[in-house]
Amino acid sequence: MAGVSNDEIRILTPSGMLGYGFPIDHFKMGLALKPHAITIDSGSTDSGPQKLGLGEMTCSREAYVKDIEVLLEAQQATRIPVLISSAGGDGSNLHVDVFRGIIAEIAARRGWHFKLASIYADIDKAHIARELKAGRIEPLGPVPPLDPREIDAATVVVAQMGAEPFVKALDEGEGVDVIVGGRSYDPSPTAAMAIRAGFDPALAWHMGKIMECGALCAEPVGRNVMGYLRRDHFEIEPLNPAERCTTASVAAHTLYEKTHPFLLAGPGGTLDLSQCRYEQVSDRRVRVSGSKFIPANPYTVKLEGAKTAGWRSIFIAGARDPIFISQIDEILAKVLAGTRAYFSEIPEETYQIIPHLYGKNGVMGDLEPVKTPAHELCIIIEVAAATQAIATAICGKARTSLMHAPYPGRIATAGNLASPFTPLEIPLGEACEFNVYHLMKIDSPTTLFPIRYEEI
């Protein structure tokens, strides 16, 4: 690894999400600038609870192989470390091991050898239960207090690690080349590199916060981005010559997907950006200074968990008849009441029937300000029940009832729905629900995150 000077550490981030792909030519332009590390995040709760709930990944295994091979090739050529966070999207142990497998497979195929550290982030449920009892767990935002039964119900619970486990892996690993992190606060790999090299943690976290999204801070938004962290500021520049960072685009970036524009809470403290200065140092590069980090005492980490919540089936159908559409609410209410009556042997609290009416209020539900429906509707009926078979049966009954429902003024007596697909009832498998999203106080920022070292 190229030595980090006292004055500057350079980090290359090829993309905001491992597995989405990134332009290789711009990545190579970044490598030519002699970065001290490559960091890339793989995590997000944004596409839903099914990753934690069912062990699914954000991207396909093939997509991860493709991106990781590019990263490993760069590692082999430059010998700088590659730090990956939140393997697979949820950062569960399962997916850390999937990434280990991918890395070993690529290395064997290409004849590469290096040192790998894997950091795990699943948290033992018994530990969580003890901490809950001890009053060391509280809701994060508008979340109900944690019920001990929800801990058991969760498929897996992970905690977002800070920079410390990455720093530990780099220190203990003695020349570790690649780190696969389980669930991590997204900026942790970048912050870890900079904090370990002795730079200001506030600047390190802020630069990490911007870079974890790749070149999303640029105009137009892009993938590959380079960060230059110095003693009292950092600079950020996209690698695609067609993109530029502006003071406005960099300052506004911290609005994105965040609760507050300036106060960003993470493991071990809160980043305060309210006093930051943004300066345009070249046409495409912005300098940032004045970031502050307020350490939390005690140190807290965010727990994330999801459970399965029954099986779903849906049907999708169109409606075009204006006489039918003008009465859709009444017709639907009757049909769903009839469906519930028909399945009177199934306890009502064990299933749900939820209509989605596109062309009326499918996107916004009760918040929809426009009250007049469109000339055609897409009707989706979502049924969730204890088994797939029951969900499909209820869904089928609702569909056939709606298809043939009589209504005042009906002249299209052959059927009310235009069905595009078979199967007419579509089984969706298990539904999931986030059920743990809480802050847990911890004594050490590293002990909950065991590290495994291996020679590949």
Binding site: T45, L255, E257, L367, C432
Partner: protein, 110 residues
């Protein structure tokens, strides 16, 4: 100069909504210039009460509401109407919940 009611979408550079974690939705209005930002702030149209009405959230439940000069932006964060991605979800990423906000009318020079 005559002021005419103008939808926010014709004034702002960005009006968007997105999840801020699985339990919150956040709305950003970013303006092209400090002047536009100040003029909209001065109009007094965008208030906690308006947000409460548009999104059916009691004002005391609003998590963040503010005009932030450093970024020429309004930021509003609310509890999500339902937990992200569960049964009955209509917008997994909460990416299309900005529309009521972008349709509000600001008195604006014609």
């Amino acid at each position: 100069m005559a002021l005419v009611p103008t939808p926010l979408r014709d004034i702002a550079k960005v009006v968007r909504s997105k999840n801020a974690g699985p339990f919150e939705i956040t709305l950003d209005i970013v303006f092209k210039t400090r002047e536009d930002f100040e003029a909209v702030r001065k109009s007094g149209v965008i208030t906690r009460e308006l947000v409460s009405e548009l999104y059916n959230v009691p004002t005391q439940n609003i998590i963040t509401f503010g005009f932030f000069e450093l970024v020429n932006a309004v930021k509003i964060t609310l509890p999500r109407p339902r937990v992200q991605g569960g049964i009955g979800e209509t917008d997994m990423h909460a990416a299309q919940q900005h529309v009521p906000l972008q349709e509000i009318k600001i008195p604006w020079p014609s």
